[in-house]
């Protein structure tokens, strides 16, 4: 895993080009502390910060081919590189090293931009084709690895993180009002939009070509589901056969993700998904396995008992870090410096601390269960939509909405609610079951309530803008023909997953300590296979991830195999107040700082802070608002105003 940076075009920077490129690499050095390298030729610069995982001696980057026709800087892993090496050798290509980086060079020479279709991996790379003076940038299908770009003075500049772009003369960080609206509705900006005006993200499954002064961006892979009619009309799938095929696929997806010349560990949350991945490693390899967990001081969030049960059952060597609210508050500015985007929950902070534990334990790579909920239908929102849809068929029924009681068993606020209020909350959008966003309306409406804190100026600049309508414009043409579960899964897998889970809560907090996450459930073969499985085998009745449990549950202790989904959560507003309150909170949320930023209403924020300080902020909205406001204030402080060395270049 690594950090990449570079440019394409002829800059008119006063500064030395190599020094600018080196500065960009230095900004992402945390992603690759083992080695740094730069390649410069007329009209192109490629930089690399390396975390050595494969072919420790031969995998230096940027890497050029023997003739010097192509040069690549690469962040990530091509897990099927051994198979590709064999294929490429069979085609007469002379593969010199044992690294996956070289495979990209040969595959591009062989297949051109379509080479990405051959790769099974998590990657973001930039490859310079000398003969065509073309820069080719590509990103993996699910959006595990990031890459950002902008144009300045006709020059394309790109990097793994925005902070590297800010080292380029003429690139400045200004927060984008529309992105803020999206973050305070969905939790993320809609790619290619980023929180920063003029800076874009290459969307997952896309590639970019810069050639002849033109930049074009195209998709090469998109998640698609069969029409709902196909599920109904097709032969009735044999659940057992599907489970066995999935089993073999998951074993292989895990096996190729163990390829590394350094030890590979695994995260254990105590839930089904990460336990299943750890169990597959233990069952199908003879590796010693080290596992790592987050624990919480507060029993409301802690899953230590379940983690220990898995550790005992699988016999792993285990280490954990216990998070307190104060430790989350203390880590939060670093988390935002790495995440580079607003977050409305503190959940990335414990994972930031966990990756430090992993790194301190001598590991660079961990397997995790990320993606199973999106791919196999594990989130509660899928059950919620199913109950609401059932209710919508008979909206006057008194028995159907009683199923709402079965949702969110771990949320006392929901469980303590009267039936009348439960129905009132979940009635949002009930009269329009054909709405493409039927599944997500209550969640987005509840999150969007946080926009009441926007300043009058920010609200005025957004007048007439509707983030949900914006998203509607990005939906695939056949979206409306998919089964409702598939539609909801698409929104989670193609938006929340890359926009928040894999970025703020994934790549960024892992790479902050140079730890690479690998996700067997996000192997594109698994994702494509799961999309074709009949929805009733994914969410069977109210049992989430049914087919996954059937497939690999056999390797787990029964209590874990049957355990219902317990979402990963962390203390929110309470992390920033109380006796151990970090000093920056009062500073950044004070009326002067809030007014200076201009994003929020200072009087409203003051009242919210007062409520939080009194320990009275118990609602989801108040907590999301507080964390979101604080994160935006931190972004303004760190990136826009340029504290902590993140100043835009003058």
């Amino acid at each position: 895993m690594c950090g990449i940076a570079g440019f394409h075009g002829t800059p008119d920077w006063d500064a030395d080009h190599r020094a600018v490129l080196a500065g960009m690499v230095a900004a992402v050095r945390h992603r690759g502390p083992d080695e740094q390298g730069c390649f410069l030729a007329p009209g192109v610069g490629l930089g690399h910060a390396r975390l050595s995982i494969l072919d420790l001696a031969g995998g230096r980057q940027p890497m050029a081919d023997e003739a010097g026709d192509h040069c690549v800087t690469f962040n990530g892993e091509i897990f099927n590189y051994l198979e590709l090496q064999r294929d490429l050798r069979a085609r007469g290509r002379r593969v010199r090293t044992g690294s996956d980086t070289e495979v990209i060079l040969h595959a591009y020479a062989e297949y051109g931009v379509r080479c990405v279709e051959e790769f099974n991996g998590d990657f973001a790379f930039a490859l310079w084709d000398k003969a065509r003076d073309r820069l080719f940038i590509a990103r993996d299908r699910m959006g595990v690895r990031p890459v950002y770009y902008t144009r300045v003075g006709g020059v394309l500049v790109f990097a793994s993180e925005v902070k590297a772009l800010l080292r380029v003369p003429g690139v400045r960080a200004e927060l984008d009002p529309v992105a803020l609206d999206q973050c305070f509705t969905f939790w993320f900006p809609l790619a290619p939009r980023t929180p920063y005006q003029g800076i874009s993200e290459l969307p997952p499954g896309h590639y970019l070509v810069s050639e002849g002064g033109q930049v074009t961006v195209r998709p090469y892979w998109q998640l698609r589901f069969p029409d709902a009619a196909e599920h109904r009309a097709g032969p009735r799938a044999d659940g057992r056969a599907v489970a066995e095929e999935l089993h073999d696929l998951l074993v292989d997806a895990t096996r190729i993700r163990l390829r590394a010349d350094v030890p590979v560990g695994a995260y254990l949350s105590g839930g089904f998904d990460s336990s299943a991945v750890a169990a597959l490693v233990k069952t199908f390899t003879d590796r010693r396995l080290c596992t790592f967990s987050v624990g919480f001081e507060s029993p409301e969030f802690d899953e230590t008992a379940q983690q220990q049960e898995v550790v005992r059952s699988l016999g792993t060597e285990h280490a954990s870090v216990v998070c307190t609210a104060a430790s989350i508050g203390a880590a939060f500015p670093d988390v935002i410096r790495h995440a580079e985007r607003p977050v409305l929950r503190t959940a990335p902070a414990p994972l930031f601390r966990l990756s430090r534990l992993v790194r301190d334990s001598g590991f660079k790579v961990v397997l995790t269960g990320e993606g199973a909920d999106e791919v196999f239908g594990g989130y509660d929102i899928f059950k919620e939509a199913k109950v609401r849809r059932f209710w919508a068929r008979c909206p006057n029924s008194t028995s159907r909405p009683r199923l709402l009681r079965r949702l969110y068993p771990y949320l006392p606020g929901i469980q303590g609610q009267s039936q009348a209020y439960l129905e009132a909350f979940f009635r949002t959008g009930l009269t329009n079951p054909h709405d493409p966003f039927f599944s997500h309306r209550p969640r987005w409406q509840s999150t969007a309530a946080t926009k009441a804190f926007f300043s009058a100026d920010l609200a005025a600049s957004l007048k007439g803008y509707d983030a949900v309508e914006d998203l509607r414009g990005q939906l695939p043409a056949d979206f409306g023909r998919w089964h409702p579960l598939c539609r909801a899964q698409y929104l989670e897998a193609c938006h929340l997953l890359p926009g928040y889970i894999l970025s703020s809560q994934g790549d960024r907090v892992g790479m902050a300590h140079a730890v690479e996450g690998r996700f067997p459930f996000l192997d594109h073969r698994v994702v494509e296979f799961a999309a074709r499985i009949p929805p009733r085998l994914r969410l069977k009745g109210m049992t989430e991830k049914h087919i996954l449990r059937e497939s690999v549950g056999r390797y787990l202790p029964p209590a874990i195999a049957r355990r219902p989904k317990q979402p990963y959560r962390a203390p929110d507003s309470q992390s920033f107040f109380g006796p151990a309150a970090p000093e920056y909170v009062a500073e950044l949320l004070g009326p002067a700082a809030v007014a200076r930023g201009g994003y929020f209403d200072p009087a409203a924020v003051a009242k919210l802070v007062k409520k939080c300080r009194a320990g009275a902020a118990v609602s989801l909205r108040d907590n999301m608002a507080l964390v979101g406001i604080l994160s935006v204030q931190l972004l303004d402080h760190l990136f826009v105003r340029g504290a902590a060395g993140l100043a835009p270049a003058a």
Binding site: G413, S418, A420, A424, F425, F453, L608, S619, L620
Partner: protein
């Protein structure tokens, strides 16, 4: 019966609580007495519990479980009506004042 003046005072207290704890005096427009808290996005599942606690502490009444329904707690007018119903007339007049 409560006088018009006393009734308005109950509503003012509820309005002030809503402004401080749900609206935060931000850019949200002033609520009409009958406007739905849910509809305006001011309240979520825990927000209702806050409102019940406020009513109980401020007006010295107990809100029964079966009274925690939107008809009683989803607008300023609804909350005020609930309070008025639960308070004896003379007690209501005293507390409301």
């Amino acid at each position: 019966m409560l006088t018009q003046e006393k009734t308005t005072t109950i509503e003012q207290r509820v309005r002030a609580f809503v402004a401080d704890n749900y609206q935060f005096g931000g850019t949200a427009a002033t609520l009409a007495d009958t406007e739905s808290f849910l509809g305006a996005g001011l309240i979520d599942s825990m927000g209702v519990l806050e409102l019940v606690t406020f009513v109980e502490d401020t007006f010295g009444v107990r809100v029964a479980d079966d009274e925690v329904v939107p008809a009683n707690l989803d607008s300023i007018a609804g909350v005020a009506a609930l309070v008025r119903r639960k308070l004896p007339a003379d007690e209501g007049a005293r507390r409301a004042g």
